[in-house]
């Protein structure tokens, strides 16, 4: 099974992009599982389950930062999706503070940005953009050609290695190259590491323990099945 982690500011069209990916995976005979990580409200899991009949789940991170929550539940989530027979696990995360990057080595990291958020946005996003594999740019029809070009140039300025893909998430145009990126992604393994160093802080993830799965952490942890609890001395 393959792992795709999709991050990006709120309302940029992450779910719209993933919906087209789910559809195209299905057309190619592949089953996607979908996990949504959000702070306090999300209904994408129910909508996608109704629309495609695929296994979906959501986790509310509550008092945890969503990307912290992502690291905690990802180990369980891979097992869940594997048991559900999925070929690809799509994880959509709210990624609010932009300093973290939720991507893991061996998984595909997508960041979804909207062209309408201003030409300088790519300069402000940090590791959520620079550590992604692909930057997906949405809402391209709403801005001038000039701003579209500058937006892309700014992405390449801060993240030269990141592939930029413009999509029209309404019509599903430009989605095929994303499927090709998924195809080239290796299968997920039991031992996966967070790609970036999170900002300085005092939790196990913040101090640099990058192992995925709550079993590797202490302090306030969060399994997929239960609420957050304290583990350790």
């Amino acid at each position: 099974m393959k792992l795709v982690i999709c991050a990006g500011p709120a309302t940029t069209g992450k779910t719209a992009v993933l919906r087209h990916i789910i559809k195209k995976l299905r057309d190619g005979g592949q089953l996607a599982a979908f996990l949504k990580i959000d702070v306090q409200y999300a209904e994408e899991d129910e909508l996608l389950a109704r629309e495609f009949g695929i296994p979906t789940r959501k986790v509310y991170s509550g008092e945890l930062c969503p990307d912290h929550c992502n690291v905690m539940v990802l180990g369980d989530a891979l097992q869940w999706a594997g048991k559900a027979g999925a070929d690809v696990l799509l994880v959509e995360t709210a990624g609010l503070c932009l300093r973290c990057s939720p991507y893991v080595d061996g998984g595909l990291g997508l960041v979804v940005l909207e062209a309408t958020s201003g030409m300088n946005l790519p300069l402000k996003v940090g590791p959520m953009l620079s550590l992604a594999d692909v930057a997906v740019v949405t809402k391209i029809d709403r801005v001038s050609q000039a701003e579209r070009e500058v937006f892309r140039a700014r992405i390449q300025e801060v993240a030269p290695a990141v592939r930029v893909r413009e999509v029209n998430a309404l019509h599903g145009i430009g989605i095929d190259p994303l499927l090709e990126h998924i195809r080239q992604t290796p299968h997920a393994t039991d031992h996966m590491l967070l790609r970036g160093n999170p900002p300085v802080g005092t939790c196990t993830i913040c101090v640099g323990k990058k192992e995925v799965g709550w079993q590797s952490h202490f302090g306030v942890v969060r399994p997929l099945e239960n609420q957050a609890f304290y583990r350790g001395e």
Partner: protein, 264 residues
């Protein structure tokens, strides 16, 4: 890659029926209008062109460049995209000053081999020929009027982007000098496609693509008689513009009756 032509291969209408016109070839230098009632599929057609549809949009149309499927890089990199689309919804979101904005755009256009300052100067000069009130370079992009915004979008696409194909969706509502725009645009060897309800723009085009019920019904070449007639239409339209302008300025119109008789 030098673009010589784009080809529209017919798809199907909203009811699934086959599109009557199966193939249209547009060549460099053509000025084309797309006409038809509201809801007839005009905007959908230019969206198909802009997306390089390859039987993967709801209409099933295909768009060919120089007779072949468009290279992937056209979609991949907006600076390589040969099409600029200016719709009623397209706008500048930046609140930078006009001068700084255009310089920012010109600086990433490193492939054209012209200094940024001269590109910016030419773009502004072009835009100012289309507007009533000249654009002040120190004003912020978001302070521009509707007409100035449209004029600058067209100038930026034509000169700075220098894209070979420009799609313009109902620009007539924006208050730019339409005849002047067409005259200026004809000096550039590009394909200009107007979605329009405006008889003036339609008659100044080389041909018009007629839409009905989601499909292209026919392609009408502007006849010699129509061209002759278009001079009168322009006069009548100019008269109406003056009328509108005088109403705007709070003037009385009693002296205009004789002029109306003369025009009509």
């Amino acid at each position: 890659m030098a673009i010589e032509s784009i080809t529209i291969l017919g798809g199907h209408g909203k009811d699934g029926g086959e599109e009557p016109v199966r193939r249209i070839d547009l060549r460099m230098g053509d000025v084309v209008s797309i006409v038809g009632p509201t809801g007839s599929g005009k905007t959908t057609l230019i969206n198909d062109i802009e997306l390089f549809a390859d039987a993967n949009t709801p209409t099933g149309r295909r768009i060919l460049i120089n007779g072949a499927v468009a290279p992937a890089e056209f979609r991949d990199n907006p600076a390589r995209n040969p099409i600029a689309l200016i719709t009623q919804h397209t706008t500048f979101l930046s609140d930078m000053p006009v001068q700084g904005f255009l310089e920012t755009h010109a600086r990433i256009r490193t492939d054209v081999g012209e200094p940024a300052e001269s590109l910016v100067e030419r773009t502004l000069a072009f835009a100012n020929q289309l507007t009533g009130e000249p654009i002040l370079v120190r004003s912020r992009m978001t302070e521009l009027s509707g007409g100035q915004t449209r004029a600058l979008l067209i100038a930026d696409a034509t000169i700075l982007c220098n894209t070979p194909i420009v799609l313009l969706d109902e620009v007539e509502n924006a208050g730019i000098h339409r005849s002047r725009a067409l005259e200026l645009l004809r000096a550039y060897r590009k394909i200009f496609i107007f979605v329009t309800h405006d008889p003036r723009i339609a008659l100044l085009s080389d041909y018009r693509i007629v839409m009905r019920n989601g499909t292209v019904r026919q392609v009408l070449h502007t006849a010699a008689d129509e061209r002759k007639f278009s001079a009168k239409v322009t006069k009548l339209d100019d008269f109406l513009s003056r009328l509108r302008e005088r109403i705007r300025m709070g003037e009385s119109l009693t002296d205009l009756e004789a002029e109306l008789e003369a025009v009509a």
